[in-house]
């Protein structure tokens, strides 16, 4: 078995037993990248010819022993290009490290210098909106890997990464995890520092892991989580040892199944696979009951108001003055206009315009303020269910991976890809996606488990028990 196909905990076991080294792991990954990334395009920038295997000596200290990790292109890595897969950030090498990267380095991780592909500024659900071209799904190269962390998910699924970091604003970790058959966690808002994550929507963004199994997700979450005084929205509470939750024991776990998630638009095959998964939970001793999240239908409109409003302001700083791409022009205003016109892709422009509109004088109350109120109602829906239930189980996405180009021209259809993942971000709660089977075409299906704020232990416990009793995660893409 190739080193690159192992999970992080398997590799670490081998390293600790001196059966291999992080250098060998790195070489194995590089070999794999040379072989398949021309097909998958999981990494944003291609290595110069002949530079792989990377001639970089990984550090060997800490608990991670120099184990490489791949990082989404919107997380700042000091001295390493971080461009959010946008032309406008061309050449941007951050002079500082994101908090999660510092924590990973402290734990002995080797930050893989090729950054993972993504939708420009995380705007999208298919990784088609990248300045570096689309990423292809390792299970079917004609299909999308999901998005926006499609590069991270595809890299893990095609063994071009042991594990990876993504970011999730409305499903950007969970939906690609589902499409690519890997594990993805969106942590509770405030659990992981956002310092160094190039903001899309500040009140929704969280960094999280994309891994080959639940144990790796628990390990990686434990490393990146924790209070950061540099992020005012991070929460000061102790980080539990998540691997202790991996007991395999879920007897008595109370699971709610929200009626609003099993409606028209849910693919029949996906539904069947998810219902089988729910049956499996019952078999393992969990109790299952139907619940209601009555404001679910408002999640998408509320999300696209709040997320675009914040994005329109967050992206104002990309103006060609200090860093990134600058269009040459005679005067300041023209320079701003030309830089932004040439630097941003179509979806970025669409969202900036939408966000600018909803914050405009005369529209603020009708859109933004109203959306904030409905957001509170959506959160209350979850609070009510979690009074009686430990977790909520749903499909991660209503369909399997769709074809490249299929939804690219229809933004509304694209936005509906996130219908099951968006509420979680609006409510600030954690959710995990684990592989739970395949559609008739052999495309992976993901199961989403949600818990109350800081209920990551419940998620890992439930997801791990399910995973260990089904083994879906062991089935790999044939590429």
């Amino acid at each position: 078995m190739e080193l690159n196909s192992l999970t992080a905990h398997e590799v670490l076991k081998k390293i600790n037993a001196q059966e291999t080294s992080s250098k060998e792991v790195l070489a194995s990954l590089c070999g794999r990248i040379e072989k398949v990334d021309s097909l998958v395009n999981a990494y944003a920038r291609k290595p110069q010819e002949g530079t792989l295997p990377l001639n970089l000596a990984p550090e060997t200290g800490g608990i991670l022993k120099g184990l490489p990790i791949s990082v989404k292109d919107n997380i700042c890595t000091q001295g390493i290009l971080t461009e959010c897969c946008s032309k406008i950030l061309q050449g941007f090498k951050p002079p500082y490290e994101a908090t999660v990267i510092r924590k990973l380095k402290d734990a002995g991780a080797f930050i893989f210098p090729l950054k993972a592909n993504m939708d420009e500024f995380a705007f999208g659900s298919s990784t088609e909106n990248s300045y570096f071209g689309p990423t292809h799904n390792p299970w079917d190269l004609e299909r999308v890997p999901g998005g926006s962390s499609g590069g991270s998910a595809a890299a893990v699924a095609s063994n071009q990464a042991i594990w990876a970091l993504g970011s999730d604003t409305g499903g950007s970790i969970r939906q690609p995890a589902s499409f690519c058959g890997v594990v993805g966690l969106k942590p509770t808002y405030g659990l992981v520092s956002r310092y160094g994550l190039i903001a899309f929507a500040s009140s929704l963004d969280q960094i999280g892991p994309l891994t080959k199994d639940v144990q790796d997700a628990a390990v990686l979450t434990g490393i990146i989580a924790g209070y950061d005084p540099a992020d005012s929205t991070s929460v000061n509470r102790e980080v539990p040892n998540y691997t202790k939750s991996l007991t395999g024991e879920i007897k008595g776990l109370k699971i709610g199944i929200p009626r609003e998630y099993f409606v028209e638009g849910l693919d029949a095959e996906v539904r069947e696979v998810v219902e089988e998964a729910i049956a499996k939970f019952k078999e393992l001793g969990a109790t299952v009951a139907q619940v209601s999240l009555p404001h679910t239908e408002y999640a998408i409109p509320v999300y696209y108001i709040i997320a675009t409003a914040e994005a329109s302001s967050n992206l104002a700083r990309f103006d060609g003055v200090q860093y990134g791409y600058r269009a040459s022009s005679e005067n300041l205003i023209e320079m701003y206009k030309a830089t932004r016109a040439q630097g941003f892709g179509q979806e970025a422009k669409r969202r900036i315009l939408l966000g600018t509109f909803v914050l405009s004088h005369g529209y603020y109350d009708a859109y933004y303020l109203r959306a904030l109120k409905v957001r509170t109602l959506i959160k209350t829906d979850f609070d009510n269910v979690f009074k009686d239930f430990d977790c909520i189980v749903t499909p991660t996405s209503p369909t399997g991976a769709f074809k490249i180009g299929e939804r690219a021209t229809d933004p509304l259809k694209m936005y509906l890809s996130d219908i099951y993942t968006i509420s979680v971000n609006l409510a600030g709660i954690p959710a995990i996606s684990v592989p739970c089977g395949f559609t008739g075409k052999g495309l992976p299906v993901g199961l989403q488990i949600m818990a109350k704020p800081f209920g990551e232990e419940t998620l890992f416990k439930a997801a791990h028990a399910y995973e260990q009793n089904t083994g879906w995660h062991k089935i790999k893409a044939k590429i």
Binding site: I198, T233, Y323
Partner: protein
């Protein structure tokens, strides 16, 4: 003038916190451009603001001093606009829930007390500084993120002089609070003015213009005076005022139209999602309230009541907090119930020495006991008042004590009749005309003769004694 002038002022005040409002960078003025910067105040992608507790406390302190209501629940908002001195292209400010509102400032203008409403005081971040060199523009981000308070007055000011007095009083209080340098030249205090005219019976306000670019309080007053004249001339001719921003040009003493405001600018304010809403605890407010220093008005009243000072003298001494503290030390330790003697020294010779040195009386390096000793020496007639003034100057220049300087300069007052008699006789001999004038009843002549004796003794003679001696000699003759 048949119109009533209506003025509202908007003051921006840099707080003198050690670090910036949302990052740990130093706020030191005058450093190499772009040296006091970090990813946060440069607005680099991925960086996040964390608010400065000290800036918030300073803001609360100032708001309390102006009797504002402190909001229990407050937040920061983003004010969105593009400008190269604003690296994020939005300013972190406060919009609908400013940290305080509804304050007031009682001023004294043209002999009359007047209460000026303060609409709101809120905290925001300063922008960078643009430097234009030929065809190039440079930007210095050292100033970016320095905590800035915006203090907005009600349109309660009715003349340029009132505006001037409001600013003077405001600055006086802020200096007492020690939360800002208040230096208009360094830009730590900036003032924009809104001014409009209306007929006294009118209920609605007239169309206003906004004045910017004033670099001193006098500049504000002059710009307003010019604008009042300009607007009134237009109205007199039946014209209408255009709502616009006008820049004050100190060189030509004119306001110049900068841009016409076509409706309000849309800043698309919304709550900054990077900074959580926070609650200002009552305990925090009352702790800060307890630490408020005695403010000028109260101090003046206390000086009048406790030390028998005139209101005029008390005001001069309370001009700055440290000067007032120094003065109070002198007054308190002066070993007599009547404080007039020491007060005269403070607002007379000491103040004029301080003014010559462009310093406050507390900044002269003078120990207050030294001043008291000097005043007592004069009172005990061991040195003349004239010599004492010279000694005071020397004390400040050399840091020697009064006693040392008097000994060294042989300045001890001559109060010995025997020593003076010879000199007086000479003066009488040399000034027979004045002697005759005196005998003819001209009192001024005596003063002249005393002056001649003082001259011959290099100011050391005791003038009172000399006067007596001359008087006795001439009436005896």
């Amino acid at each position: 003038m048949k119109y009533q002038t209506v003025i509202g002022l908007e003051v921006h005040l840099q707080l003198n916190t050690r670090t910036k409002a949302f990052c740990g960078c130093s706020t030191d003025f005058g450093k190499t451009p772009n040296s006091n910067v970090c990813p946060v105040c440069l607005g680099l992608p991925g960086s996040l603001p964390v608010y400065n507790r000290q800036a918030l406390n300073f803001a609360i302190k100032l708001a309390l001093a102006f009797n504002c209501q402190i909001q229990e629940y407050t937040k920061f908002d983003r004010k969105n606009y593009f400008y190269p001195d604003l690296p994020k292209n939005y300013q972190i400010s406060q919009y609908d829930l400013p940290l305080s509102r509804n304050g007031r400032l009682d001023i004294f203008s043209e002999g009359q007390p007047k209460r000026i409403g303060i609409t709101r005081v809120h905290l925001e971040e300063d922008a960078g500084k643009l430097i234009h060199e030929g065809s190039e523009s440079l930007v210095d981000f050292n100033r970016t993120g320095i905590p800035l308070l915006e203090i907005v007055s009600e349109p309660d000011l009715n003349s340029p002089q009132e505006a001037f007095d409001y600013l003077t009083s405001l600055k006086n209080i802020i200096e007492y609070l020690d939360v800002s340098d208040c230096d208009m030249e360094k830009g730590s205090l900036r003032c924009d003015a809104n001014v409009s005219l209306r007929l006294p019976e009118a209920k609605e306000l007239g169309v206003k213009t906004e004045l910017k670019n004033m670099n001193s309080f006098k500049g504000v007053k002059d710009a307003l005076a010019f604008e009042v004249q300009r607007q009134s001339a237009i109205l007199e001719e039946g014209g209408t005022i255009t709502q616009e921003t006008r820049l004050w040009d100190a060189e030509s003493s004119k306001t110049i139209s900068m841009r016409t405001k076509e409706g309000a600018k849309d800043y698309r304010y919304f709550p900054d999602p990077d900074l959580t809403v926070f609650i200002i605890e009552r305990e925090t407010v009352s702790t800060i309230e307890k630490q408020l220093p005695e403010l000028p008005q109260r101090k003046i009243r206390r000086f009048v009541e406790n030390y028998g000072l005139t209101e005029y003298d008390a005001k001069i001494l309370a001009a700055s907090r440290k000067a007032a503290d120094f003065a109070e030390l002198c007054i308190r330790d002066f070993p007599q119930t009547d404080k007039k003697e020491i007060v005269n020294w403070l607002i007379g010779p000491l103040l004029s020495e301080a003014n010559q040195r462009k310093k406050h009386i507390d900044e002269l390096g003078l120990n207050h006991r030294e001043l008291i000793e000097l005043a007592l020496l004069v009172q005990k007639e061991e040195i003349s008042h004239l010599s004492a003034k010279t000694v005071l100057g020397q004390m400040l220049d050399t840091s020697k004590t009064a006693g040392e300087l008097i000994r060294e300069g042989n300045l001890g007052q001559i109060s010995d009749s025997a020593a003076l008699n010879g000199i007086i006789d000479t003066v009488i001999r040399e000034n027979l005309k004045s002697v005759n004038d005196f005998k003819a009843g001209k009192a001024n002549a005596l003063m002249y003769l005393v002056g001649q004796v003082m001259k011959k003794t290099a100011g050391k003679a005791n003038p009172k004694l000399v006067g007596e001696l001359i008087g006795r000699k001439l009436s005896d003759a």
